[in-house]
Amino acid sequence: MTDVNSPDFLKSFRDASLVKSVITKIHQRITQPWTLMEICGGQTHAIMQYGLDQLLPQEVELVHGPGCPVCVTALELIDQALWIAQQPDVIFTSFGDMLRVPGSEEDLFSVRASGGQIRVVYSPLDAVKIAEENPDREVVFFAIGFETTAPANAMAVIQAKKLGLKNFSILPANVLVPPAMQVILASPKNRIQGFLAAGHVCAVMGYWEYPPIAEKYKTPIVVTGFEPLDLVNGILKTITMLEEGQVSVANTYPRVVTFQGNQAAQTLIKQVFKPVDRNWRGIGTIPKSGYGLQETFREFDASKRFDIGNIKTEESEICIAGQVLQGLKKPSQCPAFGTLCTPESPLGAPMVSSEGACSAYFRYGRN
């Protein structure tokens, strides 16, 4: 039985009989409880959307990782974005998901309602185009995301430099997956025994960074895709490795991911960005876990271009987003879940984003 509505290129990866046969193998293979973390919020949502969690054996516990870019963007960066967006003569551009993420006092939607010029863009290059078309305005792009969005963010900066644009800048906010995995594994409270690595991050970066992590923490890491068949295959591979005591890195998403990754994209990233320490919302500062601009592109840094001053940030006292993002608690264990905190009035970013774990629990009815 195949999902008749899927585009042709996805049909076979959604084939229900193939998915069920892999599920059967997982049931046959497993002999004891295992706790796995899927890093990427896109994977969390796919698992819930297709209800794959309902098909897995009791012994498999899936814990949701921090792989939701809007969720982990630091509060001070969001407050900076809100400050910049309120300035006259500024057009602030952002991916749509970011507009509803609560800052200390408000969100970008409410800044727009009170007159701020905020535009949703689908690609950072659209922001460059807006800057070209509006030479009398400062155009700022909120450069969030993991390694997946970094090449396009870098390309926007390079393009702006090539065009000689003096009115374009980015608020650098990219974060990196491997340092976050190490923080989770190094925590004394860690329960994660195997990782499903985020396929799209690996499409850009490859998985050459992972073998030392797997070795150091004795934890298998399996590069996994996003379709139902990809997900159950990733889970089967991780369970098999755990059952056999293998500690290594495997790739179950070879149609997209290679060991070296996309070399051209990595070169672009290195040209524009350098690793910097970054504060993750709800988790804390992780060394060398973000991208800042290289000195040669310093003029495109919005945080330096605008005199933002000191912003005092204030997190909700009830929200347990940080513990959810580290896999220590489930969204439904939050006292505000579904009551004080809903997608319409979120207290924390994981309730907002299409990749957030709290939003997945709320939307697909997991209590």
């Binding site: 039985m1 195949t2 999902d3 008749v4 509505n5 899927s6 585009p7 996805l10 959604r14 229900a16 998915v19 069920k20 896109g42 698992i47 819930m48 959307q49 297709y50 209800g51 794959l52 969690d53 309902q54 098909l55 897995l56 009791q58 498999v60 516990e61 814990v63 870019p69 809007v70 991916f95 749509g96 998901d97 507009l99 509803r100 939607f109 409410s110 309602a113 009170s114 949703v120 689908y122 969030i144 995301g145 993991f146 997946t148 969005t149 799209h200 139902p228 489930k330 579904g338 809903t342 997608p343 319409e344 009035s345 299409s354 990749e355 939307r363 697909y364 009815g365 997991r366 209590n367």
Partner: protein, 358 residues
């Protein structure tokens, strides 16, 4: 996530959604047709001007007038769309079809419309003529007449080109009872065609897709198709056009109005491959995209085959499908059975549809 198997699905909260607190200002999400629109209507409008007619919760009102045989159906709709012209339609055709369909959803025969125009200073007369020509064409197709109208012009910047508000009137024959509150356990759920076409066509016309999907809006007057259906099967319980908020939101409204559970089979829900592909790329769910020429039909199980045959005779019903059933076990929600034998909740649209990041 731990795995409480099989008893995994639980309804969110009480039977119908609790209104959330209102923000201080109107936000764009208050117009999405989803939960926030519902909250705004309930907390601001219904709180002060609520009455038995509004309380029925349909897109048109049923009014009993002593001298009249049958009941009067009345509906009104404000139309704002950007851009004004898009593949397959424009604001003119939309303003006729939207209201004609809302009246037809009560089983009434729409006959007369009124139309009010708010025009922005500087709007080209050529564009206005094009819109009016589209209105004339659609009125002819729907066999309705515009019998009263109004025109206001506002200063440049006070509106976006043109806004059109139409109202529609029609007579519901006596003994006919159709509305969102009449779904019953044992009924079947049908939809007249593929979902999400209008939503994708408008996104495309805005230039938001960055490519041409070739999708046309489905905007169309459905009154003739519905009249044929009701002639063949007077026993229909619910008709609803899934406009803003899409199929998912409309079905949640019906589940709440009728206090029933709606169970859908995901695989049977018709979505065109082009729409599906655009949705895959941008992270949209077609079940939340707007439609302007589709109808949800809920009727007793025994009439399913006859209904599908009747619908498929119309140019607007050729992809009609049976997509689910009504049960009573967990009232107030919509459940979706996936191809994998799993079940999940299909919730109301929350805020605005936003594209994903990566």
């Amino acid at each position: 996530m731990t795995h409480e198997k099989s008893d995994h699905i639980q309804m969110q909260g009480p039977l119908c959604p609790i209104p959330h607190h209102l923000t201080d200002t109107v936000g764009i999400s208050h117009g999405s047709g989803g939960q926030m629109t519902h909250d705004l209507i309930q907390n601001v409008f219904q709180a002060q001007i609520g009455n038995q007619y509004l309380a029925e919760g349909n897109d048109a009102a049923r009014i009993l007038i002593d001298q009249l045989e049958g009941q009067l159906a009345i509906s009104t709709d404000a139309h704002v769309v950007s851009p004004i012209f898009y593949p397959g339609g424009d604001i003119g055709r939309l303003s006729v079809c939207g209201t004609v369909n809302d009246v037809a959803m009560l089983g009434a025969k729409p006959s007369f419309l009124t139309a009010a125009f708010i025009l922005e200073e500087g709007f080209p007369i050529k564009s206005l003529k094009k819109i009016i020509s589209s209105i004339a064409f659609s009125c002819k197709e729907a066999n309705v007449q515009i019998v009263a109208g109004d025109t206001k012009v506002v200063e440049k910047g006070s509106a976006d080109g043109v806004f059109i508000t139409t109202a529609g009137f029609g007579i519901i024959p006596s003994n006919r009872q159709i509305g969102g509150q009449f779904a019953q356990a044992g009924d079947a759920v049908l939809v007249s065609g593929s979902l999400g076409d209008h939503g994708i066509a408008v996104l495309q016309a805005r230039g938001d897709l960055g490519f041409d999907s070739g999708i046309q809006s489905d905007v169309a007057p459905l009154n003739h198709m519905i009249a044929e259906l009701l002639d063949a099967i007077p026993e229909v319980h619910v008709l609803r056009d899934p406009t803003r908020g899409g199929l998912a939101t409309s079905l949640n409204e019906i589940a709440c109005q009728s206090q029933v559970t709606i169970k859908l089979d995901e695989e049977t829900i018709p979505v065109k491959p082009e729409v599906r592909t655009a949705c895959e790329m941008f992270g949209f769910d077609p079940l939340y995209l707007a439609n302007e020429g589709k109808v949800i039909i809920i009727l007793p199980e025994e009439y399913v085959t006859k209904a599908l045959m009747t619908l498929r005779k119309s140019p607007y019903g050729q992809m009609a499908m049976r997509i689910g059933s009504i049960t009573q076990e967990n009232p107030g929600g919509v459940l979706l059975n996936t191809a994998y034998g799993t079940t999940r909740i299909l919730d109301t649209l929350s805020g605005e549809l936003l594209p994903r990041i990566c």
